[in-house]
């Protein structure tokens, strides 16, 4: 199992002299660093949107209807003359925020319940496993739709509904992981030495289960962003928020608009695709490098 500190690339091992295994940084590869850089860039632009020198995303008639890209209007204009670049940057805020909250919810609830089930076993485990099976029996999108329809289409509830979707898959993995580690020597040893459940869970299992699973968070974030985009594309996501999915739906749903100005749809699609790909790739690399087999992904 990888040491916790190595997750953070900056504190990666310095390998001296001997032709030992290559550094973690190198193992992760150039692709990993490129994708991470892209994700960092997207997140930074999202956070800095209010102070960036870009047009107000609500301002119409900056360009002509579906005007193509030109200097100063790098991504062109949309069907109401808004700046597509500015829309894409502002649109990332809801996409990323929803993705982030969803993953936090999924991992905190799914992870906790899964670990507890795997550790304590017994009836609790049976009930939890059944709930997971039930949740997984809902076609994911339908469940998200049901929740948002009934609770309201706000950032919070959209995030919650996507978070709920993440609970079962994350929980199952956490449970499986815990089952593996609960039988390990160091846990058995701790138990024999009379450590409390609480202490074993927090000190021994948590780092060994949660930290490797954090690679999953990157993958999960990508999935959540796509899911939010999907809801927005179907016009059932955050009601008055503008996210990538909404932007793509807005620009991509009429034959004539696509004919006149495909750029208004293709730019946000490109950025969304690269973001999701980067998250997936970074997550994959981390998983591959840090012991994929034990994670049973």
């Amino acid at each position: 199992m990888a040491d916790a500190s190595t997750i953070d690339g900056s504190t990666a091992f310095e390998v001296i002299d001997e032709p030992a295994p290559p550094s973690v940084a190198r193992q992760l590869g150039l692709g990993f660093w490129l994708s991470s850089a892209f994700v960092v860039l997207v997140v930074a632009l999202a956070l800095l949107a209010p102070i960036l020198p870009i047009a107000d995303p609500d301002q119409t008639a900056i360009g002509g209807r579906l005007e193509g890209p030109r200097p100063g209007l790098w991504f062109g204009a949309d069907s109401t003359g808004r700046d597509v670049l500015s829309l894409t940057i502002w649109g990332s805020r809801i996409s990323l925020l929803v993705g982030f909250i969803a993953i936090v919810i999924g991992f905190s609830i799914g992870g906790t319940v899964g670990i507890a089930a795997g550790y304590f076993r017994g009836l609790f485990d049976k009930v939890v496993s059944f709930i997971f099976v039930t949740l997984l029996s809902f076609p994911a999108l339908i469940l998200a739709i049901l929740i948002t329809t009934l609770l309201g289409r706000t950032v919070l509830w959209v995030s919650v509904s996507l978070g709920v979707l993440a609970i079962a898959p994350v929980g199952r993995l956490a449970r499986a992981q815990t089952l593996v580690f609960a039988e390990r020597e160091f846990v058995t040893a701790a138990r024999i030495l009379g450590a409390s459940d609480r202490r074993i869970l927090v000190k021994e299992l948590l780092p060994n289960v949660v930290i490797p699973m954090s690679a999953l968070a990157l993958l999960g974030m990508g999935i959540a962003i796509v899911a939010e985009g999907t809801l927005a594309f179907l016009a059932i996501s955050v009601e008055d928020g503008f996210s990538w999915g909404r932007q793509i739906q807005d620009a991509g749903s009429s034959v004539r608009d696509l004919e006149e100005g495909p750029h208004a749809a293709l730019f946000p699609i490109g950025v969304l695709f690269l973001t999701v790909l980067s998250l997936n790739y970074a997550g994959d690399r981390i998983r591959d490098v840090f012991d994929a087999k034990e994670l049973q992904l």
Binding site: T60, G81, E239, V255, R256
Partner: protein
């Protein structure tokens, strides 16, 4: 079990004399506009000209044919082929085809006209003409009209078309809570209709009304077979299979999908019997208007009607490759402002919203030249158009001081110096774009909360007055007098047909005055005053004249061949309504 309740929702839905704007964009679909009551377009004729006497002098609306502007590649009249089958794509649907209990919007009006025909029609000059009626005779003060029917008309089920049948239909019409809402104010509450003899019926108006016959070019002039009307009381599903005296009979109908009409073999007037054997009309609820155009070009359908900007431009691009007829004399697209609740109860707020409305941006980004932007209720396609009347717009600088003074007086309606408002529209791409444009222009003066609701809720809420400002489309009647129901004080109530709930006694007086007049010039002058009154009271923002476009494969002939039984030419189309019997296919 859901039946009762869905019937009520249907009623509310229908209540829309109306229906929200800008046509069937992607998601909006079948129901989407099952609002629109209404009928034929403006371009009205003022008064009588038909059989009878009286004030025929009035004249008026000479040229200005109702078929409106643009006719591309009209049919060549060539080899008329008898028989054949036509496929027509319609923009919207109705819950039922029973005119006595469902407000029919444009598409179902097209179907219902083929099945029922109307007592009166509006001709190509915009004048009303006898159709199934033979004559109309008013009393001296125009408070009652005697209508005589033509002899020898029968319904397609063989029942005689007589005065009793007319009375039965009109009674059914006025006993329905919904349809009566629209026309009842114009008729005497006690005895709106009386049977005089076998072929004569007397209609009593609520006030002197020289325009009364034009009402019967609308839905209320569609007379159903008494046997069918009686049977439908026991079996409401018969609302889908109506029986009238028109040139076609209904063969099959799947609601929200398709309706099949076949030639009425018992048609009373052999000279004008249908040429085609069969017409399939369908509403493609999932489809997009622009892909409907593709179907026309691909030959999958023969004729369509629509109102959206994008497909209209697409059709224009095709030039002479298709037959295209445009008509802007019908409905208007409007921003309603609810005058009964804060903040739009204050004229300053209404004026500010109107002044800051982005008229030119709307024309550039939404309409894109597909229709004329509007200043008043009457487009240049109607005889009532007055180019001197101009509403505010594109002048945000006027809005600042108004909002400032309002917020000083009514701080609880304002936040940060801007008025808090809710902007309601129903779901469609075009309306979303409009909200983006308007939001951008208004954001300096208003804090806007968008309320995007499904079409039926939209209609319910607007009719109940549960909105601040909302998009709406209506005002499509053939005579402005009929349209005046939307402007009067007496149609404001729990459920309002005066949707913006703006009551103005001065305007009501003007409306009554023009109603009693038989002189076009006099009426025109009064309507100029009424329109000025609407502009000054900021009753609402008229955004755009709806452009109804009918397009057809060049093989379809006879679109402009329709006439009355007396041989008077009718418009090629009328707010998207094409008359079907004269259509034929060339080889």
């Amino acid at each position: 079990m859901l039946k009762t309740q869905s019937r009520w929702l249907a009623i509310l839905l229908a209540l829309a004399v109306i229906a929200t704007a800008c046509g069937g964009g992607s998601t909006d679909d079948a129901q989407s506009e099952s609002g629109d009551t209404t009928e034929a377009d403006d371009s009205s004729g003022d008064d009588d000209s038909g059989g009878d006497s009286d004030g025929d002098d009035s004249g008026g609306n000479v040229d200005e044919s109702a078929d409106g502007s643009d006719v591309a590649s009209a049919d060549d009249g060539a080899d008329v082929q008898t028989g054949g089958e036509l496929r027509i794509a319609l923009q919207t649907e109705a819950d039922t085809l029973n005119p006595t209990n469902t407000p029919l919007n444009r598409a179902p009006t097209l179907i219902a006209t083929a099945i029922f025909d109307t007592l009166v029609v509006i001709d190509a000059e915009g004048q009303w003409q006898n159709n199934l009626s033979e004559s109309w005779t008013p009393n001296d003060d125009f408070t009652s009209w005697d209508m005589t029917l033509r002899e020898g008309i029968t319904f397609s089920d063989g029942e005689p078309f007589n005065a009793a049948a007319v009375v039965a239909t009109v009674d059914a019409f006025f006993s329905d809570p919904l349809t009566s809402l629209v026309f009842a104010p114009a008729f005497d509450a006690e005895t709106p209709v009386e049977l005089i003899d076998d072929l004569t019926v007397r209609f009593n108006a609520s006030t002197p009304n020289a325009q009364l016959p034009t009402y019967f070019a609308e839905q209320i002039g569609m007379i159903g077979s008494p046997a069918w009307l009686a049977a439908r009381n026991d079996d409401p599903s018969l609302d889908q299979m109506p029986i009238g005296a028109g040139p076609f009979v209904i063969e099959e109908r799947v609601q929200d999908r398709s309706t099949v009409l076949v030639r009425n073999e018992n048609y009373w007037n052999p000279d004008q019997a249908a040429i085609l054997d069969r017409i399939e009309l369908f509403t493609d609820s999932e489809g997009q208007a622009d892909s409907t155009v593709s179907s026309l070009l691909a030959g999958d359908i023969d004729l369509l009607h629509l109102t959206d900007a994008t497909p209209i431009l697409q059709l224009r691009d095709e030039g002479d490759a298709i037959t295209r007829i445009e008509d802007q004399s019908g409905e208007e697209f409007i921003m309603l402002m609810n005058a009964t609740i804060a903040p739009f109860d204050d004229i300053r707020v209404r004026e500010a919203a109107t002044a800051a409305f982005p008229q030119s941006a709307y024309a550039e980004f939404i309409t894109q030249g597909s229709a004329d932007s509007a200043q008043t209720l009457f487009s240049a396609d109607t005889p009532w158009h007055n180019p001197d009347l101009v509403q505010l717009g594109d002048q945000p600088e006027l809005a600042g001081p108004l909002v400032e003074s309002y917020c000083a007086d009514v701080p609880e309606q304002c936040t940060d110096g801007r008025v808090d408002i809710e902007y309601q529209h129903d779901i469609s791409d075009e309306l979303t774009r409009m909200a983006t444009l308007v939001g951008d222009s208004w954001s300096e003066f208003f804090n806007i909360t968008l309320d995007v609701v499904p079409n039926d809720q939209h209609i319910t809420q607007v009719t109940l007055g549960a909105y601040d400002t909302a998009t709406w489309r209506y005002h499509g009647f053939s005579d402005p007098d009929v349209d005046s129901i939307f402007l009067s004080c007496n149609t404001i109530g729990a459920l309002s047909i005066n949707f913006s709930r703006n009551c103005n006694p001065e305007r009501d007086a003007l409306i009554a005055q023009q109603r009693a007049s038989t002189d076009f010039d006099e009426r025109y002058a009064i309507w100029t005053d009424i329109q000025q009154n609407l502009i000054d009271s900021f009753h609402y923002i008229v955004v755009e004249h709806t452009n109804w476009v009918v397009a057809a494969d060049p093989a379809v002939g006879g679109i402009c061949d329709a006439t009355t039984p007396d041989g008077i030419a009718l418009p090629c189309q009328n707010g998207g309504v094409v008359r079907l019997p004269q259509l034929f296919l060339t080889n």
